[in-house]
Point group: C2
């Protein structure tokens, strides 16, 4: 078998809690755990010793008792599989309490192979006829409502001129609101409002890969071209497979189940989801129901949008208990390369939902950086 050319290595960056005397051994243990997972003395193969074993490239003290550890891993161990990427980066080490996966530097070849967002910021703006302004989004909820009621909600959001209406991430394929019936009802309702035809309905995919494929077919048949998915529940490989199979569809990534494994939010949501094809990524904004700091939110947005191996920009979508009285502050914070998602606070308007939506939309459209 011909020897394949050496490929550039992946560099994983961990934050490790340790005392100073112990950090070198701990760093080496992580490098072994995330590569060959066996005593190095028993690794006799030259290729494995020189290429496959993780290398500790650098250890830096960040604060007292907190170290940054950079470990390079062979790209060949990942191949083209996003599941194997996360397995190599953090699989067994996710079971250790003293480590956070802080960041990853991927070789350009690997990032380009995954390809990133197909549509991204420019594509999502184009879908709704928006220029260089922030996009608007709201959510259909609560789960438990039948399709007709959800469609009525969607109609009022659309009358208010909203850009995107997404399913709450709890809306799946339940007996009281089957996916296909829901998509048909909502798509038909929006279709009837041809005057506001730029509003896009974004249904939430759920279930195994085949069920999600079936949902995508039903959605496409109803004229839907943008969907939501929860990559950490779907499995990263299945998420990416759907992206590859449906180049015309834009994917909005939801962070649900993203927190249980201690991966830095900017890395997981901003970089990895983008790399695998998320066109937009929802995350908990600071000052809402979740504990992310302004710094974390800024890092997510800049990672999703920034120049990175030539990939398209992924739209940051701060959310999680946002209210219309924070719009100006959020726009000042994020600028216009953002999609603002306000769900519950609009639904509280009850009968005045369309008016509340219109006011939200007008504020965003009038904003000039």
């Amino acid at each position: 078998m011909p020897i394949a050319p050496v490929r550039p290595r992946i560099e994983a960056i961990y934050h490790v809690r340790s005392d100073a005397p112990g950090i070198e051994a701990r760093a080496l243990a992580i490098a072994v755990e995330q590569s060959v997972e066996m005593p190095l003395a028993a690794v006799t193969d030259d290729f494995v010793r020189s290429r496959i074993v993780g290398h500790v490239e650098a250890v830096t003290e960040k604060a007292r008792g907190l170290f940054e550890v950079r470990i390079s891993l062979a790209s060949e161990t990942v191949g083209d599989d996003p599941g194997q990427l996360i397995n190599m980066l953090f699989g067994n080490t996710s079971l250790h309490e003293d480590v956070v996966l802080h960041d990853v530097e991927l070789p350009a070849e690997l990032a380009g192979q995954f390809g990133g967002p197909r549509h991204g910021l420019a594509g999502l703006r184009e879908r709704v006829g928006a220029g260089r302004r922030a996009l608007t989004c709201s959510a259909l909820k609560p789960q438990g409502l039948p399709p007709a009621t959800l469609a009525h909600l969607a109609e009022r959001f659309a009358r208010g001129g909203i850009d995107f209406i997404k399913d709450d991430h709890g809306l799946a394929d339940q007996a009281y609101s089957p996916f296909a019936a829901r998509v048909d009802a909502i798509a038909s309702a929006l279709h009837r409002l041809a005057l506001v035809g730029t509003t896009r309905y974004v249904p939430s995919l759920s279930g195994d890969l085949d069920r999600m494929r079936g949902q995508l077919s039903a959605a496409a048949a109803a004229g839907v071209d943008t969907v939501m998915i929860a990559p950490m529940i779907a499995g990263l490989a299945n998420f990416h497979r759907l992206v590859r199979e449906h180049p015309g569809i834009a994917f909005v990534a939801h962070p649900t189940m993203g927190g249980a494994a201690r991966i830095a939010p900017a890395l997981l949501l901003g970089k990895l989801f983008r790399c695998l094809g998320a066109d937009a990524v929802i995350f908990p904004n600071h000052g809402g129901r979740f504990g992310y700091s302004p710094d974390i939110c800024r890092a997510i947005a800049s990672t999703a949008l920034g120049q990175w191996h030539g990939l398209n920009a992924c739209v940051p979508v701060p959310a999680g208990g946002m209210t219309t009285d924070r719009l100006r502050e959020m726009l000042d914070f994020y600028g216009v390369d953002v999609m603002l998602l306000i769900g519950g606070a609009l639904l509280e308007a009850g009968d005045r939902l369309a008016e509340a939506t219109r006011s939200f939309v007008a504020t965003v459209q009038a904003y000039r950086a």
Copy 2:
């Protein structure tokens, strides 16, 4: 539409860090987050208010600043989708640092619908002709070795009389060791040793659902009837789909990407993986490379094995840096309803691998509780 009969509710049990004055509000917030995810004042539908909204059933102080919160959720929100199950149990709440998903009580109907292990403890013992004794297992590694070298390792494990030989969970479908070539090489090697025909090779599945299906076909064609899978990377729904599609195959679940205790290990590995069909579950034993305590390990084993809605027992597989000098202690701790997995420590034997394996096997087979 006829009203479906009311189904018994799921009960999720969270451990929440909070001060005493704040816990009631925090518990309610979790109940809302994990169900309707919007202000309750804006929920007007009677069915949603009475059935779909999460109910705080009990709040108990476990220790100073630590509370157990029991929240019931509607089974109808989950339907038959394992991905939606974990989404409802912990999705957004996984993003909150103050909460651990500690346990879940599933209605018998829901557990029965998922069905649990098809083969379990009895089936895995039968595969290798074992009576009521502990099973033995080792691992093929390091990744990076070509199929022929791995096959040679497998042959020596088999000569030592081991019950199961699993792939290291880093072995995927890499260019230097493609899945199909690896399975063929190893299955052929074991086939040639017909005298020890009770050794089972357990290859590791990776990639998206379709790639895993292809791997299962290749494995079955080579006579393999037991495989390993990483449910948290595959996605729970895809894992369960494979279980349903392949009733003759036994599945060993690997904990990679299971996170560090944000979901209690006994719940995730012992209960949920079992419920979705894991016949055996690997987990880090206490005193090895990972930080699980003896209590956690005991809880995982008893949850995997115990009486629960009539499901088959799932074999606990303590691992993660185990050595042969701990065999007696492990057998005393777990009893014989266990599979003992020793990987690296056997591989350190080098040329004496078959002998070291034989000694491991003999100790386990001679053990009487």
